[in-house]
Amino acid sequence: MITRHRVALRARVDPVACDAYGYCAEILPERVTLDEWGYPIIDGAPLDADLVDLATRAAAECPRRAFLLERVASDR
């Protein structure tokens, strides 16, 4: 039997690069909240398909290029 592995995306922040601009939390509040110091707390679960466009935009808009999307194997 052939098993198809779909590739999913998840969000991650590079804590060294991040300077708390907060754009990611504006663009993707479904997965990003800010702590009291303004730094993003990311829900790193695989992104649902309807959030991928927003997450891609959040990554593109980050002035520090600190908001990253990485591929994860998903069986969903």
């Binding site: 804590p15 060294v16 300077d19 110091w37 707390i41």
Partner: protein, 433 residues
């Protein structure tokens, strides 16, 4: 505060690492015997040593407890010429074990470094001793020169002096300093991927770890395992300080009850607890002082072995005040890269100072817990996580005190002088206690 002096002479119970009678090469050989390392690449010997270290169950003595042989396998697979880095930075202010080892038995550490180099095919060893640690640097530099004069050096060994800050000893920060001169931790997604300097893989070993390697290479894994427990074999170095008559570095079998180690160091009074591991470690309650000094039992007791630090907190001292001082020191030791560490640690230190002085604030304990959760796991390195572990353990072990302090009834111990050690140039050391 008064800088605590830690006498280390004549106080070690020498079992293995501290069995030497002198630091000269001739004394070293007389005590430990000749170690034969092949000068040419010898795959059979490398495999033999690698398997011996693996079978010994030796775990790194730098705090993370990573299996030493596993580091070699990762680099041998990379196929590029690696460098061995000896991490003797010893950034933990209360630790003295690595400088003691380098001062008393520098050749044992260098033996281990050369064994590691020969196993992984490295032609260079770099020994890192903190800039403010002159004694150990002199001892190891002298030992390197002595080996060269005797024709006993098997590879190029250099001694370098990175800045003596807490975080410089973190291995990715140390490697970053070697490569680009800035001691900044880097984000590592997969820790099995070797660190690099100038595109060459590096293997970083704590100095004590390498001295254990030197003995395993001589005598094999079975002798190593004769001490300690099956899960935590061997001996280890412990730095004991605080409320003991003879603070200093002791060699103990892993699995020795913490209270026995304290007695060996001259414990003669009641304690209100003990700090285990280091300033990113955890408190152990008085009722748990019989816990075996080994990773798993300490973890089960909510503590950690860390870099082998035990600080006895005398009865009458305030664990919350000591934790506040440590948190303030650790906040100042951030590399300044990650927001939750840069802004979170000073805030939680201020919370603890507030708690220590007993200012009434019904939301204070809640706020400390919330900030602990917000900071944990969000740095590139584990520096903030260590502080959070310590803070949580303080609120747990000194829970009754914490409640009383938060209700505006601080204990008398708040005014007691600290038993912690802080570098003379740190803000905590300058602050009147």
């Amino acid at each position: 505060m008064t800088a605590m002096t830690m006498e280390t002479t004549d106080r070690q119970v020498a079992v293995r690492l501290l069995a030497g009678t002198g630091r000269a090469l001739v004394d070293h050989t007389a005590t430990f015997g000749v170690l034969t390392i092949p000068s040419e690449n010898d795959p059979a010997w490398a495999t033999l040593i690698s398997e011996a270290v693996s079978a010994s169950g030796l775990l790194g003595r730098g705090g993370a407890g990573f299996p030493s042989a596993a580091k070699w396998n990762a680099v041998r697979r990379s196929g590029r010429q690696p460098t061995v880095v000896v991490n003797a930075m010893e950034g933990e202010p209360a630790s003295r074990k690595d400088r003691t080892l380098l001062s008393y038995a520098p050749h044992l550490v260098l033996d281990g470094a050369e064994v590691a180099a020969a196993v992984i095919g490295a032609s260079e060893v770099v020994v890192c001793v903190a800039h403010d640690n002159e004694t150990a640097a002199v001892a190891v530099t002298h030992a390197v020169a002595e080996r060269q004069r005797a024709g006993a050096a098997r590879c190029k060994i250099s001694v370098v002096r990175p800045p003596g800050r807490y975080v410089t000893g973190e291995e990715s920060a140390l490697v970053s300093w070697l490569g680009r001169g800035a001691a900044l931790p880097t984000v590592r997604i997969d820790k099995s991927v070797p660190l690099e300097v100038a595109r060459r893989p590096v293997v970083v070993h704590n100095a004590e770890t390498l001295s254990q390697v030197a003995l395993i290479a001589r005598h094999g894994p079975d002798r190593f395992r004769r001490l300690g427990t099956p899960e935590a074999p061997g001996s280890t170095l412990v730095t004991v300080s605080g409320a003991v008559r003879s603070p200093g570095v002791y060699e103990v079998e892993l699995g020795t009850p913490v209270i026995d180690i304290l007695h060996r160091a001259g414990l003669d009074s009641e304690l209100s607890g003990a700090l285990l591991g280091g300033y990113g470690g955890a408190w152990l309650a008085p009722a748990l002082l019989a816990t075996p000094f080994a990773p798993a039992p300490l973890k089960a007791a909510g503590a950690t072995l860390g870099v082998g630090i035990i600080i006895a907190l005398p009865a009458g001292s305030c664990g919350l005040s000591e934790t506040a001082r440590i948190a303030r020191y650790m906040a100042g030791q951030s590399a300044g890269q990650c927001g939750p560490c840069v802004y979170g640690l000073p805030d939680i230190a201020a919370d603890l100072e507030w708690l220590a002085t007993g200012r009434t604030d019904p939301r204070l304990l809640e706020r400390i817990q919330a900030r602990a959760s917000a900071i944990e796991g969000r740095g590139a390195c584990r520096h903030p996580d260590g502080v959070i572990r310590l803070v949580r353990s303080a609120l747990n072990v000194f829970a009754d005190d914490a409640k009383a302090h938060a209700d505006g009834r601080p204990c008398r111990g708040h005014a007691a002088p600290t038993v912690m050690t802080f570098p003379d140039d740190s803000a905590v050391a300058r602050r009147p206690s």
